[in-house]
Symmetry: C2
């Protein structure tokens, strides 16, 4: 039976999604839990392979279980309990035999959060980057050029799979509660560290160190040498996945 | 110079507000930071002495500094840095010489959060109690009798200062985002563990183990023997203080 699951996690304590021997990873925790419950070596397919320290609100996974009569509500409870407090197994449902969390996905949406209040909010500090005041108008002016299909080589870490040409479906900057600033971006797929590179560039614009047009110029340059700081991972959350 | 400050903290790692030798407390952290920066032994007065594990969003403190010319913006930054990631010093301002964070306060408002989704949300698990589905209508029906002046002996831990008669100004149960349920309660002051005792009783009603009228009966009994589980501290946040 092919199973589709939704999981949420705080990435702080994990070396990212992808299993690595001897390191705590989200995939490792979930596959260990599946092995414990089902007695099988189950391999997970995932919609978005998040990096070290990056969170997920509605990550999607797919996997197979040998027993077509598996009680998925019960399996969900068992996995949720075993996965520990940083990983939640929110839902499990039977999927079409050809469903793939990775290849069936139409787009991934990420949220990057900045906190701009004088003091870092202890309730949000794990999930947002605490920075000085940001000029939202300048950031919003910098965003439109990244929408559409472009070579994002200037914003992707070298060695990324699938090249650096990507189509960004939507990108917006919006105010959140209590001095929070939110950068939303959606695309079929992203290059390695692309969202955090964009979030770092937008912070440079928001702090007045760069003009809004600089983001377009950087994009056109397709040269990563011009980019400044990549935004830290703890501000980034994989928000949801569309199918 | 009398100073009024607003601080926020995640209570998870602290043995409550009040300083205790050899234990991590919010007061201890802040008084140590003040001693480091000012070179003086500064004693803090606080609006709400939160218990072990309880959080605060806009806790209010008052204290004196010897130098009337102290740069409070700079002092705030220094304290915020020294206090560490779980405590934020949000603002400092000069107050009237007779201002007391404790005695000038007109009321304290607390928020108790329950999470009712099947899986505990990793982003909110530190700040909310994960429980089974709650009947909001039943909980809302149980709340009105606690508003007004009553002897809350049934809901206060023995040994509380100032007796057990309190006047609750407002109490409501409301839905929050993604299966969150919020119990808001405001009063001039609260007895020891009063909010968590009320939150525990409301959960018993929300789970159908008790009728809504049971809360009124318990209140009328002024007998703590009848109460069930006190709700855990991590769901409770001191939200704000009115002056």
């Amino acid at each position: 039976m092919r199973v589709r699951g939704t999981v949420a996690y705080e990435g702080t304590a994990f070396h990212g999604w992808a299993a690595q021997p001897g390191l705590p990873t989200v995939q490792g925790v979930l596959e260990d839990a599946l092995a414990t419950v089902t007695g099988e070596a189950v391999s997970l397919t995932v919609a978005g392979r998040t990096d070290t320290g990056v969170h997920a609100r509605a990550q999607v996974v797919s996997f197979d279980v040998a027993d077509a009569g598996t009680d998925l509500a019960r399996l969900r409870r068992s996995l949720d309990r075993l996965a520990g407090p940083d990983v939640a197994v929110c839902s499990l449902e039977e999927a079409e035999p050809d469903f793939s969390a990775r290849f069936s996905a139409k787009s991934r949406r990420y949220l990057y959060r900045y906190l701009t209040a004088a003091a870092a909010d202890p309730f949000r500090r794990r999930f947002a980057w605490h920075v000085r005041a940001l000029d939202l108008d300048a950031m919003a002016a910098a965003v439109p050029p990244i929408v559409g299909e472009h070579d994002f080589a200037a914003f992707c870490k070298a060695g990324a799979h699938g090249g650096t040409v990507r189509r960004v479906a939507e990108a917006t900057v919006a105010p959140g509660p209590d001095g929070e600033v939110r950068f939303w971006v959606e695309a079929a797929s992203f290059g390695h560290q692309m969202v955090r590179s964009l979030a770092g560039a937008l912070a440079a614009v928001g702090h007045g160190r760069r003009h809004p047009e600089w983001v377009r110029d950087l994009l056109d340059s397709t040269d990563r040498a011009g980019i400044g700081n990549v935004a830290p991972p703890h501000g980034l959350t994989l928000w949801d996945v569309r199918y």
